[in-house]
Symmetry: C2
DNA sequence: TTGATATCATTTGCATACGAATGAATTTAC
DNA sequence: GTAAATTCATTCGTATGCAAATGATATCAA
């Protein structure tokens, strides 16, 4: 390698050439596509509920009655977003709302009987969605990927 | 391990107990959170442009003038979504539109001089966004993660 | 050549997603 | 004990994201 090549390589390492920017290789772009693919798989298996709606029901099943805000924290949704999700679940009779007796700011959310039936029925489908989303990877790759993805999230 | 334990393990492997469904461990949920984190990092560095808007500019820089639909394919956006993104970039003078001379269905999109300046200026920031998004991982982990993520996307 | 298909773009409707502003209620600090 | 800060929820505005329907144009096939 010539001295000039070394110089060029040095420049490349310390300050990459902007010509070499490839959108397709950026983690954000691929992350968005992977997420899109997952949502598409989800919709193919569970057509009448979105992933955020499912997340709300699944988490309510875990923790029981909680405040709307607390639920939002648990499923990584801000207050404005979670309100819309809960409104739609309420309109479909899957959750019910009530006021907190002591802290009058809080709006309590809980599953209805119908909501509980729905989430129990959907969990096996959700397992299949996870399986299908990860299908391009081997068992060992899945373990590795999930560990690294968790670090990024 | 007792015979009963073996039976329980067998049942668990073939038909997992629905009690054991944990939203926080599902790939879709973590993917959504990782994507959220990336978007947040993006916004901290590039406040006046969204990731999809940036993607459109970056891809136009790569390929030059293209039809709106073709651009959508290249950046994984459906026709309805790409229209909104392009409309907003046009309103800000970063892209310009023209009609295809031969195929009158097509709407051609291209960078304006201002759009080209903008994307050139933003690419170094985008590199930093990628770096920060991947910061929780070591160099070796990054290589592994990107390979597996690409398989899923 | 013309009738069926396919493609490109647009529009509408619905569902996240989040920043910012607001108001009500609670908690903290002094 | 009250003023300041915080928390909870709501609303508004903007921006994806996608399904479905529509209209215009192009292509294919008989």
């Amino acid at each position: 390698m010539s001295a000039e090549d070394n110089l060029l390589k040095l420049v490349e390492v310390e300050e990459p050439d902007d010509q070499d920017y490839h959108l397709q290789e950026q983690v954000g772009f691929i992350l968005r596509k992977a997420h899109q693919r997952h949502v598409s798989i989800f919709a193919a298996h569970i057509g009448d509920l979105t992933p955020p709606q499912f997340a709300a029901l699944a988490k309510l099943r875990d923790v029981g009655e909680t405040s709307q805000n607390q639920l939002g924290t648990l499923i990584a949704m801000d207050a404005a977003t979670v309100k819309g999700v809960i409104d739609r679940l309420k309109a479909r009779g899957l959750v019910e709302l009530s006021k907190h007796e002591i802290d009058k700011r809080r709006l309590l959310v809980n599953l209805t009987a119908e909501g509980r039936d729905a989430i129990e029925r959907l969990i096996p489908l959700a397992r299949e969605i996870t399986r299908e989303t990860l299908a391009p990877l081997s068992a060992k790759e899945i373990a590795t990927f999930m560990k690294l993805l968790a670090k990024l999230a």
